[in-house]
Amino acid sequence: MPITASLALTLPELILSLGALALLMVAAFGGDGLTRAIGWGAVALLAAAGFSLTGPAGNGGPGFDGLYIADSFSSFAKVLIYIAAAASILIAPGFFARTGQLRAEYPILILLSAVGMGMMVSASDLLTLYVGLELQSLSAYVLASFMRRDTRAAEAGLKYFVLGALASGILLYGISLLYGFTGTTLFAGIADSLGTGISTGEMFGMVFVFAGLAFKISAVPFHMWTPDVYEGAPTPVTAFFASAPKVAGMALLMRVAIDAMGSGTDAWRQIVIFSALASTILGGVAAIGQSNIKRLLAYSSINNVGFALFGLAAGTPEGVAGTLTYMAVYVAMTIGSFLCVLQMRDADGQPVETIASLSGLSRSRPALAAAFAIFMFSLAGIPPLFGFWPKFLVFDALVKAGFWPLAMIGIATSVIGAFYYLKIVKTIYFDEPAADYAPSDSKLEGGLIALSALFVSPLGYLAIPALGVASMAAARSLF
């Protein structure tokens, strides 16, 4: 395959990297005054990258001699990643302007992170995977401590970096084991080798790879960093962490599990089932005692990742499609919830993060309260909100694959999670009002909240046919 054809497959990544470099120049010479314009420029680049998926980059097949693949699976994940990244850029200026940290690097770091995530979901070789993952992670470490003078943010960044480096080490160790025992880093080659039987060394390699990737999606037992980092990082960055990298990590995990280790499904399924159940249970139980809304949402994301993993545990195209749909709806719910958190500001405009401060929000800000309640009920998976649908799909896939006892246990754990989502709704609707928040000052944020609330409202069900076709096509390209 000529190099130009291979390059055409990476068009979105090319657009984003070159664009990010150009914007970096603008930032260097234009200063922080141009931050908002750079933000819009970054969103335009993300849109262009998304648009380029309609070409060969969307479904062109493998390139660079098998190191890289552009299929409908990667396109589906990339669209989600770009949407989440764009939203994280749009919601940031208001927040940083109020805290006096409006800096032009923010949108650029998000862009670079998006490049890394694009590589992750398109990787069909363990080393491409690793390079993409590190590019994403390095941007994320910087983003976590973006508010340099804030000790919490610095702590979050450091913690994230140390634990992230550890996870990368574990992943690399797994990759080296797999390479040593199979003689290749290509997914296809690994799949061939595993197809003839799994040696102990290969098994160890698989376990380490899974452990490293579980860290990236913060699945139990590799979730410890999540609450601290989510709490310490600036809220727009937390919104970003909770959405786009989760999609990328989950997509990557699915591709590795199915493409490279498809013949070892029975072996890794146990890991995934354990991790899924542990995540839903721990994500539910540990959240109950939280008093900080960002920590609570961190546990909520652990909980939701657990449910998404149930789809992978099924190991069927339906399951993978369910997990993809899960991530799509999850992105909308998460961005929406964090947008609501961004509205939590005291009279001086400083961010407030206690759950108690939400008391009686339904009387001072009825529309915001309603949106918050919609996101909470949706995260809990209560119909008729759209958050029910992806849970339905992953459990349907489990039942179809014959794992109905697991589905019974898994869905019962969703009741634990429902408890703390209800707690938020209770605080908002039933409790006596606390001090009012500062009035909203951004039409854009309000519009984004309304948009995501509409998507997870019952109207979202009208998207099922389209979403179903797209996610199924994406899932089929893995099998």
Partner: protein
């Protein structure tokens, strides 16, 4: 496809709910009242146009909107009656909240209208997943109604209500997924004719049972009900007792019995055992209550046990009796909660001992309260008599011991209802604040009169209510009759003279 009347009935309250959110308090009351009255009118149209003896499923609508499942609606006689009950009670609920609710009226009315949408949706859904979504979605408005407008302990009650019912329903969802994968369709009418493997039926039945038993509620998972009732506002109690509990009975009749007949027969003693315990135990608990609403709540559990006894008696009398108990209880318990609400609005206490002697200063109230008390006891000429009598006849045919235990519930029922009535209405009028209470206002009269008329109608001429569902009960019977557990009563069917005399002696 004809005129989409069911969609219209679902859409009107939904749209009105949205409109309420953008309206002021007084406008929201009127929007809610008009919307529910329009739905009532449509309900009457539905009933008059329902063709008795016509096709099993009427007013059928089908649209493949959602990919995996469809917007499929359609009703048989059973669903028709429950829909009519819902739309009949809704304007009364709005009327009951007219003055009692003063805070956050638009949200309150919106929550009620949303409830109405979902209730009609549950009874009209012909698609399994559509049913589940409607069934489950009712949790949200009810959670808000109890939690925002309830009494002092409302938060505990709202959690209990939500989490209990959620745990029950999610297990049912897994069973539904399995059924659809097995049968390859989400259509309820088709699934009702599907023969599931016998060993799977037990598990499926238990999963559905987990949901319906909580909703019904059956002993021992009934404990959410007294808490929720006591803490809910009056109209919330009315709708909870009047319609929401019926979803459990409807579920048994629509899903458990016709879809899993073998398991239903196998687990006959599970259901009957729990029901028998419920009849006796909850009646005794009701007997010692000091809170009026709690007493009526426990009596609801006892009455719902009659429903399950009737449903699992595997014969026509039992099934029709269970349906009539559901309808009758919907009217009577709703009316009783209204009666409690009327005096609660005046004195702001539900303690029986705080009242007494109301017959003197509130004669009209005493009259209506007496009628509904007697109806709850099951006096001939009232709705509950017909239902409970039929259910007990059915139970006797199924198993005489069940009938024996259940009948004691009637006696206990008379005891606790009379205790309630005596404590509130009879006795000397000694308390000054009680003596100062005015009799029924025109609004309250307008709320109680239609229910009273319904109770009498159902008691005197139940044929109006039995006729639409006769064929549909027959359809359920056709599915369950082959597996019916053996009876110990050995009832002889047919005009054998001595058998008839024997039966008469028993009743």
């Amino acid at each position: 496809m004809g005129f989409p009347i069911l969609t219209l009935m679902i859409a009107i309250p939904a749209l009105a709910a949205v409109a309420c959110l953008f309206a002021g308090a007084s406008a929201a009351r009127w929007i809610a009242l008009i919307a529910t009255l329009v739905d009532l009118a449509l309900g009457v149209v539905l009933w008059t146009n329902y063709e008795i003896g016509g096709p099993q499923w009427q007013f059928v609508e089908h649209a493949d909107l959602f990919g995996r499942f469809a917007w499929a609606l359609g009703i048989d006689g059973i669903a028709l009656l429950l829909i009519v009950l819902s739309v009949f009670l809704m304007p009364i609920c709005i009327g009951a909240s007219w003055e009692a609710i003063t805070k956050r009226v638009p949200e309150y009315m919106a929550a009620f209208l949303l409830m109405e949408t979902l209730m009609i949706g549950v009874f009209a859904a012909q698609d399994l997943y559509l049913f589940y979504i409607m069934f489950e979605a009712g949790l949200i408005p009810m959670y808000l109604i109890i939690g925002i407008w309830g009494g002092a302990d409302r938060i505990y009650a709202s959690y209990k209500f939500f989490l209990y019912t959620l745990l029950g329903s999610v297990l049912m969802l897994i069973a539904m997924l399995w059924m659809v994968n097995f049968a390859g369709t989400t259509s309820i009418p088709v699934l009702m004719q599907t023969d599931f493997p016998a060993d799977a039926q037990t598990w499926l039945f238990l999963a559905f049972f987990a949901s319906f038993a909580v909703k019904m509620p059956m002993w021992p998972v009934h404990t959410w009900l007294p808490d929720a009732h006591v803490q809910a506002p009056t109209a919330g109690s009315v709708i909870l007792a009047g319609v929401l509990l019926k979803m459990g009975g409807y579920g048994f009749l629509r899903f458990s019995l016709p879809m899993f007949p073998i398991a239903s027969a196998e687990l006959f003693w599970l259901v009957m055992g729990l029901s028998m315990v419920a009849v006796v135990v909850t009646s005794l608990i009701a007997l010692v209550q000091e809170d009026m609403k709690k007493l009526i709540a426990y009596s609801s559990v006892a009455h719902m046990a009659f429903v399950t006894i009737g449903l699992f008696s595997f014969n026509r009398q039992g099934l029709e009796g269970a349906m009539l108990v559901m309808l009758g209880h919907g009217l009577v318990s709703g009316a009783l909660f209204l009666c409690v609400g009327i005096i609660y609005d005046r004195l702001h206490t539900r303690e029986i001992a705080r009242y007494g002697g109301l017959a003197t200063n509130m004669p009209k109230y005493a009259l209506f309260f007496l009628l509904f008390t007697m109806a709850s006891v099951g006096l001939p000429g009232t709705s509950n008599f017909v239902g409970e009598f039929l259910a007990l006849v059915g139970a006797y045919e199924a198993n005489s011991w069940v009938a024996f235990v259940a009948t004691t519930g009637i006696i206990l029922g008379a005891a606790y209802m009379l205790v309630l009535y005596r404590g509130v209405v009879y006795g000397p009028l000694t308390k000054e604040d009680v003596a100062a209470m005015p009799d029924l206002s025109k609004r309250e009269l307008a709320l109680l009169l239609p229910i009273a008329a319904g109770v009498m109608w159902m008691g005197v001429y139940p044929e109006s209510f039995i006729a639409p569902m006769r064929a549909d009960i027959g359809a359920v019977l056709a599915r369950i009759a082959p597996t019916a557990p053996e009876s110990d009563a050995k009832v002889v069917v047919g005009p054998v003279p001595h058998a008839a005399a024997h039966a008469e002696a028993h009743h």
